[in-house]
Each structure stands twice: as structure tokens, then as C-alpha cells.
Symmetry: C2
Subunit: 186 residues, 2 copies
């Protein structure tokens, strides 16, 4: 079927099952060694997230939306009149990135930017009247997908996974704070 064997040296724990092309892990190490486990976790963390996001984008495309656009709509419903700076922080994206997403949603007529009466620098984000039922429908759909995706993970396992992720983030942040010495090769 796929990958006719040409130049297929090295790693990859691909079995016989067709997983849509997500089997390969670039491992030069024993997959059961600590080093191989760490490599695998990095790989599958990113790959699992990307697959999940792709599923959402696929389902939302029928409603003319995408995952980032949907997140804006969800926040705009939860906090009517939210400012762009606040929104960007909550979504953990930069200001310019948010501007593009808002431009697209405004062009669709889903949101509108209103001037803040107290501070003329600020703009309030509001859902339009037409957006209401669409946001409601997407909300239920997204929740159903999330429930199904995590159906095989118990509550205790969810807490444990969250704890592991938090430990990883702590280390990542510690490294980001460090200067990061340059490599010794011009």
C-alpha cells in the first residue's frame, strides 16, 4: 500500500495497521530506553494535538469556521464586549494574530468591533445577532467531540495527565528564561 520500501532505513514503529501516516517516529534509539521514551513523548504530544485540532477544523469547516475562529466566538459569547488585548491573552496568541482572525470574522458578519466609550484606544468585541444560534450549535458540537475523544480516559487519568503536562511546562519555562548559550560553531 504505502511506502514501498524504498530507502526505508532507520526507525519507525509502524505496524501493519493503517493509521493515516502518523506511525513514524524518528528514533535512532531503542524505543524502550529512557531516551527513546522521551523522544516518543515529544513526538506524540505534538502529533496528538495536531490530529485533534485537525479533526475540529474539519468539522467546523462546514460552518464556515476554524478552530481559532471558534475560540474567539466562544470567548466573545462568554465575555461580551471583551477587549482585544484581553482576548489575545486568554487565547495565548499575539495581538497581530488576533487582528487577522477578527478581520475574517468581521467580514463574515459574525462579530463587530465597537468603540469603547471611555477609552478611544480600546475596541469592544461583540457577537452579531446572526452569530448567536451558530455559536450555540458549534458549542454543543465541540463539546460532543471532546467528550468522545476523551471517552477512554478516566477522571483520575485526566488529573494525572494534567499534572505531567504541568511539570513539563515548568521546565520549559525555566529554560526559556535562561540566556541559551550559543553553539560553538560560528
Amino acid at each position: 500500500m504505502r511506502g514501498s520500501g524504498r530507502k526505508t532505513a532507520g526507525g519507525g514503529n509502524a505496524g501493519a495497521t493503517d493509521d493515516g501516516g502518523y506511525a513514524f517516529v524518528p528514533q535512532t534509539y531503542d524505543p524502550d530506553s529512557p531516551e527513546g521514551l522521551r523522544l516518543s513523548l515529544h513526538w506524540w504530544l505534538g502529533t496528538t494535538d495536531r490530529m485533534w485540532r485537525r479533526l475540529l477544523d474539519e468539522r467546523l469547516r462546514g460552518q464556515g469556521q476554524t478552530h481559532p475562529r471558534w475560540r474567539v466566538l466562544a470567548w466573545a459569547r462568554l465575555v461580551p464586549g471583551i477587549t482585544q488585548t484581553d482576548l489575545a491573552q486568554r487565547m495565548a496568541i499575539s495581538g497581530p494574530t488576533l487582528v487577522r482572525i477578527l478581520d475574517g470574522l468581521a467580514a463574515q458578519g459574525m462579530i463587530e468591533r465597537r468603540d469603547d466609550p471611555h477609552d478611544r484606544r480600546v475596541k469592544e468585541i461583540h457577537l452579531t445577532a446572526e452569530a448567536g444560534p451558530i455559536v450555540q450549535a458549534i458549542s454543543e458540537q465541540v463539546r460532543a467531540i471532546r467528550t468522545t475523544v476523551l471517552e477512554d480516559v478516566s477522571e483520575a487519568e485526566l488529573r494525572f495527565a494534567l499534572d505531567i503536562l504541568a511539570r513539563i511546562r515548568t521546565r520549559v519555562q525555566a529554560l526559556r528564561s535562561e540566556p541559551g548559550e550559543p553553539l560553538p560553531l560560528g
Copy 2:
């Protein structure tokens, strides 16, 4: 400092610590409820991956590289003469995406595309001579970062996390195979 309190309704489990703006979780539910746990896991799965990737991009920028570019270089070293189709599958990205990355690396003189002598459609990807020491240095740096990031996660926990991620992917794939019924709202 940040988020002066204007229109700060709804969720967010932001504490007093400055975490760089990654604290907000869009929760309309009790964070300790199963629903809130599922929402949190989805959020932190994506956020943790993005933070880790950003750290790598930041450290690799000094070498004129990025995370995706580095992954190409790693594969090209492991499988000399790998084809673009094979490479795209192993990286789990699309063909056109890979073409752009290869264009950038070729412009840097890090890789070169050679014609396959047996099949004139195919092109072999090879590292250039100058790339060798750079790839070696980056390899060690990336491995060191990965080891540090996962320092607080035991081997048993790594296996457990990999198992949970695999269960999630199984469900995601099952949903992607389904037709995905359209929402009932024009």
C-alpha cells in the same frame, strides 16, 4: 501590570505567578468536574506542545534553523537520499508544506535535491558537506533540551502518558473516519 481587571468575567485560573500569559483556560464549568477536566486537558495539551516547540525554535534560531527545518535535517542525516514523499510521511506533514521547507534549506545550502537515477519523478534529499557539523551540534542541543524538559517525569510516567495519548488518537481517528453529519442550521 497585566490585565488591569477590565471586563475580566468568566473563567481563568490565573494565580499570582507570572507564567507568561498561559494561565487562562476558557472554562464555563467547574474545573474539577469531568467536563472541566476534559476542557483543561485539551487546552493544556495544545499549550504545552506550543510552548515546547517555541522553546526549540528560539534556541535553533541562533543556528538559522527552526523546529520543522531541524526535523528535515535529522531525517536527511538518518536516511541519506530519502525521497520527499517518504519524508513528508515520516514528518506527518503534506507534500506542499515540505516543498517550502526544503526550498528554504536549499537556499541556505544545507540540503540538495538530486535526481533519482531510476525514476525521474523522484528526487533524493541529501545533506551538503557544510551541513554535517551543524546538524551534529544541533542534534546534541535538541537532545539536551528534551532531557531537561522531561527531567521531572519518570520512565513509568512516560509510558503511561504515551498510553493515554494513544487512546486519544484512536478516538480522534475514529471520528475522522465518520462522515460528520452537518449541523441543522443552513
